[in-house]
């Protein structure tokens, strides 16, 4: 399935952006979707820092869908909504893959790094999402995973704690 933009938005006013995308669960389409979202945020007048944080949070959330929700099932469909308003970037992701374990979001705690031999090579995704997003919520509705993410885009936002 080709990545397709369901609606694009010119977003003439600064601090505004809107985009709806549908993609299949592949790393190539995730990359293309991230490009479209950051471009829309750029057109919407969001600063590089806000765009970068949104890109990383979205990358981690989408990679999680590709690697876990749809793991071993062949490509599945992901729908993405972006709504940028002054001071905030809202994202919603919907997929029909496996639900989150216990229908709950992972805590995303940073594990102790240890030293050379036992350095962790993974497990940073949810930590980064929780660290960079102001709000994260998950629900399972009608066989769909619904993940909502809100990032603050005001001055000094995007680095919480």
């Amino acid at each position: 399935m080709a990545l397709r933009s369901v609606t694009g938005a010119g977003a003439p006013e600064p601090g505004c952006a809107a985009l709806v995308l549908e993609l299949s669960s592949s790393t190539a389409e995730v990359r293309a979707a991230l490009g479209q979202v950051t471009e829309a945020l750029g057109r919407g007048g969001y600063c590089a820092h806000a765009r970068n944080c949104a890109e990383l949070v979205l990358a981690e959330a989408l990679n999680n869908i590709v690697e876990h929700a749809y793991a071993g099932q062949g490509p599945g469909r992901i729908r993405l909504w972006l709504q940028g308003v002054p001071g905030a970037i809202r994202l919603e992701l919907r997929d029909r893959g496996r639900p989150m374990p216990d229908l709950a979001l992972p805590e995303g705690r940073l594990k102790p790094l240890g030293h050379d031999g036992d350095l962790p090579e993974g497990g940073f995704g949810w930590y980064l999402i929780r660290r960079l997003a102001a709000e994260v919520s998950y629900r399972r509705v009608g066989g769909e995973n619904v993940l909502r993410l809100v990032l603050e885009s005001g001055p000094a936002a995007g680095d919480r704690g």
Partner: protein
Amino acid sequence: MKLTCRGTEPQVISVGEPRIDAAVAIQFKDAMRAMLSPEAERVILDLSQVEFIDSSGLGAVVAVKKAMGASQRLDLAGLTPMVDKLFRLTRMDTIFALYPTLVEAEATEVAPLPLGGGSGG
């Protein structure tokens, strides 16, 4: 995965890609392993052309470090703002020496690692 390499001590490996993400993390790891000199005591990874690294890319950089010998060190240079932020947020700045530019990394004398048998050279 475009990597270029110069020098032997330190060995400088420059990544010629704008992204190290889930789409290319494995290629990055494999290309790095093929390029790393087993003799180099210090390897500087020049990330100045890399604008974006996700947690898969971060994991790949960690995997490269783990695949190196105990007497070898891997330093990171030329970190763009979001890449720098990623390494600091995940506290990888306690594992890797981070340099804003390759010039600064190369100008910094580093002591051989106490671990293993760093035999000079």
